[in-house]
């Protein structure tokens, strides 16, 4: 690097180079057409939520309760009472007393289908549209398609308690997409982001950074222009800024007491406070320009394969899990609505599959990908609606099946992305999130 260039760079702060290189890296693909919404908050409920105990009541099951279904298995009736809520009279069980109050914002899909009755496969399928690792997940595809709104924050953030779900980190992988699109994990406890807390005081760090910059530019002078070295240099400026920005966006001190109460941060239950905090952080992150925020419901020790995986103790497990998550989720919807953010933020609530109508022990249900319930709110989805149905036992979809690919295609569509055109050349082929599948479910759109 010659002296003139060094001065020019130095004069503008070397963030200028960072900016250039980031722009170069973030060649966005879309939008393909005007978007209905800007951001996504994906409330991932791992383990498999019982659809017949949440949004899809099956009185017939209660009639058959205790009778043999197959072999040693018996039908298991509903455990909780339902109430018709909102304009559309969507049935919601007692598990979600808070959510009942915002059903006019929500569209429930009761005819979701997945393909694999196993956690690892299904988790990866829900995230990447494939049943094996190595592919980019929805969040990565969206940031690849649209870029990030924020220069100082990653486009895809994962809020969780550190539990590794079945399938491992492949669930949140950028696959073959550039690494800038990988999920940045923010933990609920301890340092939220790896290495974000400066090891030095600001004075010391700046002193070091100045010297590093000077020395690195001398290196460039020796070896000549090198994109790789230059963008590595640039990353230091961005890293420096992130150290300030990330804690700031996660800091809840500036939130009002009313807001904190809304999210249940005053709860006596620690996990509930933690989950409420994550929901509030999700709102702050989308406000700060993060494109895709995923919140994972916390592991409460009922199952090691996902919060909601109740093969036994269904009553206790589902009750505790819903108690922990219901208020935070509802607060998020109310808060987004009152700030006018709900239209530009799509909230999707889903697990990897549903649970069986029958049981081996009378208080537990097993994995059931054949049908399950999910819901969406805001972001261009219908408000206060129901879609699809299952048979009288909740065993199979009766009408209007929605596949995981359909869900992905629909979410992309609202973001202004055509799932067939959002592709990346890999292995000699233009690969997409939905492969050769997927239909935009227009019936769900406002």
């Amino acid at each position: 690097m010659n002296r003139r260039r060094w001065l020019q760079t130095a004069a503008q702060g070397f963030g200028w180079v960072a900016f250039q290189s980031l722009l170069a890296e973030e060649r966005r693909i879309g939008p393909h057409f005007p978007a209905k919404t800007k951001n996504v908050i994906f409330l991932f409920m791992p383990g498999g939520i019982s659809h017949m105990d949440t949004f899809d009541p099956k009185p017939k099951l209660s009639e058959l309760h205790g009778k043999i279904s197959k072999g040693k298995r018996t039908w298991m009736g509903m455990t909780w009472k339902f109430e018709q809520c909102g304009r559309a009279g969507v049935p919601v069980s007692e598990l979600f007393p808070h959510l009942k109050t915002v059903m006019d914002e929500i569209t429930v899909v009761r005819s979701m289908v997945s393909e694999f009755p196993l956690h690892a496969r299904s988790n990866i399928f829900l995230h990447t549209g494939r049943n094996i690792g190595g592919f980019p997940c929805l969040g990565s595809w969206i940031t690849y398609g649209l870029g990030s709104e924020s220069r100082n924050l990653p486009g895809y953030v994962l809020l969780h308690d550190g539990t590794v779900p079945p399938g491992g980190l492949e669930n949140f992988s950028n696959g073959f997409l550039p690494a800038t699109h990988q999920a940045t994990s923010m933990l609920s406890e301890g340092s939220p982001v790896a290495n974000i807390k400066p090891a030095d005081t600001d004075y010391i760090q700046k002193t070091k950074l100045n010297w590093i910059a000077r020395q690195d530019h001398e290196l460039l002078g020796k070896i000549g222009a090198s994109d790789a070295v230059e963008s590595a240099i640039a990353n230091y400026e961005l890293a420096y800024r992130m150290q300030a920005v990330v804690p700031d966006v996660l800091n809840l001190d500036k939130e009002s007491e009313a807001t904190k109460r809304l999210y249940g941060l005053d709860s006596e239950h620690k996990a509930k406070r933690t989950y409420g905090m994550q929901c509030l952080r999700a709102r702050r992150l989308v406000e700060a320009g993060v494109r895709f925020v995923e919140v994972i419901s916390p592991d409460l020790g009922f199952s090691m394969n996902g919060t909601w995986d109740q093969h036994d103790q269904l009553k206790k497990g589902h009750e505790t899990n819903s108690m922990v998550t219901d208020q935070g989720v509802t607060a998020l919807l109310k808060d987004l609505r009152s700030r006018g953010l709900l239209e530009e933020t799509m909230v999707v609530w889903a697990g990897e599959f549903g649970r069986t109508p029958d049981s081996t022990n009378g208080d537990g249900r097993d994995h059931h990908p054949e049908c399950f319930s999910v819901w969406m709110a805001g972001g261009g989805f219908q408000r206060g609606a129901m879609y699809g149905s299952t048979d009288e036992l909740g065993a199979k979809v009766a009408e209007n099946p929605v596949t995981v690919h359909d869900l992905h295609a629909t979410m992309l569509h609202l973001m202004g992305l055509d799932h067939k055109r959002l592709t990346y050349r890999f292995g000699g082929r233009d690969v997409s999130l939905t492969d050769v599948h997927g239909r935009v479910v227009r019936e769900l759109l406002a």
């Binding site: 890296e25 393909e115 196993l118 800038t180 790896a194 290495n195 240099i233 090691m304 890999f426 492969d435």
Partner: protein, 906 residues
């Protein structure tokens, strides 16, 4: 519907109507319609004349298929296909002929520099070359001492010196570990251990250091267990197949679990050795390369016939000395015990069991041909027995004639494997005994860690009756009895085995196997044919002439507390047992490795059209890619030996080309063929075909000598050039450079892996906490736990262990800057370096700074640099006592770690 993820892993067509047809329409027609309407013309006609859709919608008189409607998604798919014009993709077969990679390698008598026109390229300065060579060949920066020594040597001698470093093997082993998707756990839900995976890593380090010819490395990877006159550790090579992801579930309920494991084996094999995406042909003929789906299923047969097991590395002769000494002690113990028992069992004492009814042996057919594996499996004579190694009891059990693993010690490792179970009998019964969590596993469809297994916890011989699963016609099924050390499910997931922590952690376990029968009657064979007189039996046993009936009977009495079994029975007995226990304590624990082994019979598999195993098609004989000709595979073997030869032969044009290109890639950061794992038509062509063939032909002529080829490349002017492409160190070299520079590096080779650092361990997934500095060991020794590996390495693009990955991503993300600025490991190592600096007797800060630059970058500092650094020191500390101020030197050390020069290969 089976998902066609395989399509995407490798390469095929664009997103197109063809893909839609292949994945959504063709499978439906094949499964539901083409039994009666085999030709495509039928469907094209029905689509054209408008009869197809009403028929499948069952709207008119013609309702198809006749025996039940298609499911809604299938109907929708066919409708979409018709709406798009009902195009039936051409059944074109790609030909091998035209593509460059399938052409024979042509010798090109030339040199690298001639072919690259780099003969007169200006060389980089000598110190740069020393650093470049050291980082490229060993993954470590040169030490100050090395720099000094090499500075007075000619370049070729420097190359030889570095090639001779044991760290060369570590570097190239780690490269190769990317190609074989190396990991030490199975991932999925419970992250089971891949037993002994680290031994395979050590095997690689030795192989590269000893310069094992590449064709031999290939043979050992594919068939190390079958090679005639093989090196003792050749079997470890087959761990190659075992390093993938695996699920634990029931293999009948979830068949894809087993088929996916083998698919990953085929995928990795194809990419690693041949640069071919063979697994694209799992569901259909490869769209681009000449690989029909029959070839995929020929390989499937080879790998379904290759049992995925845990192999012991010791053989029986390793324990011969112990066995002999134990035998001598046991003879004395038997005499002593028989004497004691005769005293307590008076003549005429009534028998505790009545004579059994006459045998109905005709209902039971002997099932023979079991395959013993492991040093523990000794065929004992009736009356032999095992001794307890702790507690008050003297004996564990008395044996009839049969295979017992604890005749010398229950530390010895063993597995007894059955032939394939018959499909014409309902049950198999095994006469077995065992303890301490030895187990019976029923292996279905060659699953790795299937759910169908149970411990054998009864020291009395008993009949274990099991279903043969004969109704599962399409699944090969076999059974193995295993000691804990050879059970791939150990340590099991939390709660699966109801056993104490100590019992789970111990290496000890044992089983006995006498015989097996198959039968249709739903009962067990009788245990005793005849109950002998007890005194006569004791007498016979004491004189070492017991019959099977005697031994069975005495063991029954022993286990039911009817014969004294206290080690304190007499002073002599106590002394003898004490002697045995002292001897036994010196027997080393067994070493095992995950590997492959053949059964006694190979299995040919059917083609599963469109990947759907529920509709098996034509059976294809075991084999390899038909483009390389037919393999001659004996009926009693998997065919891996023949497969290994088909790949390791000089006649295979891909094997050498793919490997020399990998070596080139690891030296220059980019291959001559940039798509190092894909030499097929969708891969990129070689940038310099003559250079590729020059290297490949020399490689083969030089007996596949890897080191020689590496030497030839780094001796080229191209490598020494000023224009060598500057690129970032890979993740391991970043971490290792920090350790080397701080002085914390433990340069020991080999050994069990160290868990990566984790703030929050997740023991339920076997993600244990490791020390921040990894005990100072090189990164190759950090455990690669699938699901979550070292996050520090991940930040610098350590690859996910999914399939062959010859070229890593090289990214530039702020997380890398954050790691070097703030990661506790980096900060800690800066402190380690500072501690060493305080002891260096430097006369001035300048002198110390000078030596720090030399140590970090292998070059002297420039005066300007020293001046700058001196300023930095001044800014960081007050001027008094600078030399003894640890904080200052920690900051300076940390700053040097953060220079780009530190992490870029010059």
């Amino acid at each position: 519907m089976f998902r066609l993820a395989c399509l995407l892993l490798g390469a095929a067509a664009l997103w197109s109507a063809d893909d839609f047809f292949e994945t959504s329409v063709r499978p439906v027609l094949a499964r539901n319609c083409q039994g009666c309407h085999p030709t495509k013309e039928h469907f094209l006609k029905a689509a054209a004349n408008g009869k197809l859709i009403p028929a499948i919608r069952r709207e008119g008189a013609l309702k198809m298929p006749p025996n039940g409607a298609l499911e809604a998604p299938a109907i929708a798919a066919i409708e979409k296909w018709v709406a798009q014009g009902a195009v039936w993709p051409a059944d074109k077969k790609p030909a091998a002929g035209a593509h460059w990679a399938f052409q024979p390698v042509k010798p090109v008598p030339s040199s690298i520099d001639e072919l690259l026109q780099t003969a007169s390229a200006a060389s980089a300065p000598p110190l740069t070359l020393i650093r470049r060579l050291s980082l490229v060949l060993t993954g470590l920066p040169p030490t100050e001492d090395e720099v000094r020594r090499y500075s007075s040597m000619a370049y070729p001698q420097i190359v030889d010196a570095i090639l001779a470093s044991p760290h060369y093997g570590e570097r190239w082993a780690r490269h190769w570990m990317d190609v074989v998707r190396f990991a030490e756990t199975h991932g999925y839900e419970w992250n089971y251990e891949i037993q002994g995976a680290w031994r395979y890593r050590d095997y690689l380090i030795r192989a590269f250091n000893e310069n094992l010819p590449y064709n031999q490395l290939v043979r050992e990877h594919i068939a190390g267990d079958l090679l005639p006159n093989a090196r003792p550790e050749a079997v470890t090579g087959t761990a190659f197949f075992r390093l993938g992801e695996a699920g634990h579930d029931d293999c009948i309920e979830f068949r894809s679990i087993c088929l996916d494991v083998i698919d990953n084996q085929i995928d990795t094999l194809g990419k690693a050795f041949q640069g071919l995406t063979i697994s694209c042909a799992r569901c259909h003929d490869h769209k681009i390369d000449p690989i029909p789906t029959a070839d995929y299923h020929a390989l499937l047969g080879v790998l379904e016939s290759s049992r995925q097991v845990i192999k012991p590395l010791e053989n029986a002769s390793f324990y011969a000395n112990f066995a002999q000494k134990t035998g001598e002690l046991k003879a004395k113990i038997r005499t002593e015990l028989a004497g004691l028992w005769l005293q307590e069992w008076s003549p005429g004492q009534s028998q505790p069991l009545s004579q059994p009814p006459p045998d109905a042996a005709s209902d039971f057919t002997p099932f023979e041909g079991w395959l013993p594996d492991g040093p523990g499996l000794t065929q004992v004579q009736p009356g032999d027995f095992a001794l307890e190694t702790e507690g008050e009891d003297a004996l564990t059990a008395i044996f009839p004639k049969g295979w017992f693993t604890n005749a010398t010690s229950d530390k010895l490792s063993a597995a007894m494997r059955s032939p394939l179970l018959p499909k014409d009998k309902k049950y198999i019964s095994l006469l077995v005994s065992g303890g301490k969590l030895a187990a019976r596993r029923t292996v279905i469809d060659n699953g790795v860690i299937g759910e169908n297994y149970d411990p054998i916890q009864d020291p009395v011989l008993h009949w274990l009756k099991l279903p043969t699963l004969a109704e599962q016609k399409n699944y090969p099924v076999w059974i193995e009895l295993v000691t804990k050390t050879q059970n791939p499910r150990i340590p099991d997931r939390p709660g699966r085995l109801k056993a104490s922590k100590e019992a789970l952690a111990s290496d000890r376990s044992w089983f006995g196997f006498v015989r097996a029968v198959v039968h249709d009657v739903d009962r067990k064979p009788p245990l005793f044919s005849k109950i002998p007189d007890t005194r006569a039996a004791i007498q016979a046993w004491g004189e070492n002439r017991a019959t099977d009936d005697d031994a069975l009977w005495l063991n029954w009495l022993l286990q039911n507390g009817l014969l004294t079994n206290s080690r304190h029975g007499s002073a002599t007995l106590e002394a003898l047992i004490g002697e045995y226990r002292a001897l036994e304590a010196t027997i080393p624990a067994p070493r095992v490795v995950s590997a492959l082994t053949d059964g006694s019979q190979g299995v040919d598999f059917p083609v599963f059209p469109y990947g759907d195993w529920k509709s098996p098609g034509k059976i294809v004989p075991r084999g390899y890619l038909s483009l390389f000709g037919k393999l001659d595979i004996p009926a009693n073997s998997s065919g891996r030996l023949q497969l290994a030869e088909a790949i390791a032969t000089p006649d295979n044009p891909l094997t050498a080309r793919v490997m020399v290109n990998r070596l080139w890639h690891w030296i220059f950061g980019r291959g001559i063929v940039p798509t190092v794992d894909n030499f097929g038509r969708v891969g990129e062509p070689p940038s310099n075909p003559a250079l590729l063939d020059h290297l490949a032909s020399r490689f083969v002529q030089d007996n596949w000598n890897i080191k020689n080829l590496v030497r030839e490349i780094v001796l080229s002017k191209a490598f020494q050039s000023r224009n060598y492409p500057v690129h970032r160190l890979d993740a391991e070299a970043v971490r290792d450079s920090i350790l080397a520079t701080s002085g914390r590096l433990d340069r020991r080779l080999y050994g069990e892996s160290v868990s990566p650092f984790r703030e929050t361990p997740k023991e339920y997934r076997r993600l244990f906490a490791g020390p921040l500095d990894g005990e100072g060991r090189r990164s190759i020794y950090l455990k690669v736990t699938r699901m979550e590996w070292s996050q520090f390495l991940e930040t610098f693009d350590f690859p996910a262990p999914l399939t062959a990955r010859g070229a890593r991503d090289v990214t530039n993300v702020p997380a890398q800057a954050l790691a070097l600025l703030n990661d506790p490991f980096v900060i800690e190592q800066a402190g380690v370096w500072a501690d060493a600096l305080l002891r260096d007797n430097a006369a001035s800060p300048e002198e110390r700074l000078e030596s720090m630059v030399r140590r970090a970058f292998g070059r002297p500092a420039t005066p300007a640099e020293i001046q700058n650094l001196r300023q930095l020191v001044a800014q960081l500390a007050d001027p008094d006592h600078v030399l003894t101020n640890r904080t200052v030197w920690k900051h300076v050390a940390h700053t040097l770690f953060n220079l780009k020069e530190f992490i870029y290969i010059p």
